[in-house]
Symmetry: C2
Subunit: 105 residues, 2 copies
């Protein structure tokens, strides 16, 4: 398996580590989402110990308003991370990649 | 950095390993997309050596029809992988998770 395949499958596995805990094993309830966010995204999302923040994230992700977050709905969080906190990483990567290689290379 | 943060950042890094090669460093042209798919998704996508397949994938991903695939457009490929080839993994995970724990646990 390549690194990219490992990353794609890894994201699924981490989602399921939390989704199986309570209720339907394929969706996150609010508590499971909070556990995932606080444990797995500590450097990426702020104020996740603050309940109103969790309530807002859960509400935003639960697109079909069925009271649970599916894997497809969870992926919207990734998009917001890439546009938001991880976009700094995108910026760093762009700066690194757009600089001419060091003289010694 | 947690495993999930590593996976999210890893996907960005792999995308950029290919996007920087030719033209705009932030988007994939068709050749870069073909290189990424054949090298990084060998177990996930079939027939990727076949040019019509690449043409079709490129056409599907290039949502704004600007002749290049941005990172946001590239993520549509992930969705199709999760609904398609990787959904078998989802299935396996579900089966593993929904089985009662072995007697000796």
């Amino acid at each position: 398996m390549t690194k990219l395949e490992d990353h794609l499958e890894g994201i699924i596995n981490i989602f399921h580590q939390y989704s199986v805990r309570v209720g339907h094993f394929d969706t996150l309830n609010k508590r499971e989402l909070k556990q995932l966010i606080t444990k797995e995204l500590p450097q990426t999302l702020q104020n996740t110990k603050d309940q109103p923040t969790i309530d807002k994230i859960f509400q935003d992700l639960d697109a079909d308003k069925d009271g649970a977050v599916s894997f497809e709905e969870f992926r919207a969080l990734e998009s917001s991370l890439w546009r938001g906190p991880l976009s700094a990483d995108l910026g760093n990567i762009r700066r690194q990649l757009s600089q001419p290689p060091p003289a010694f290379l």
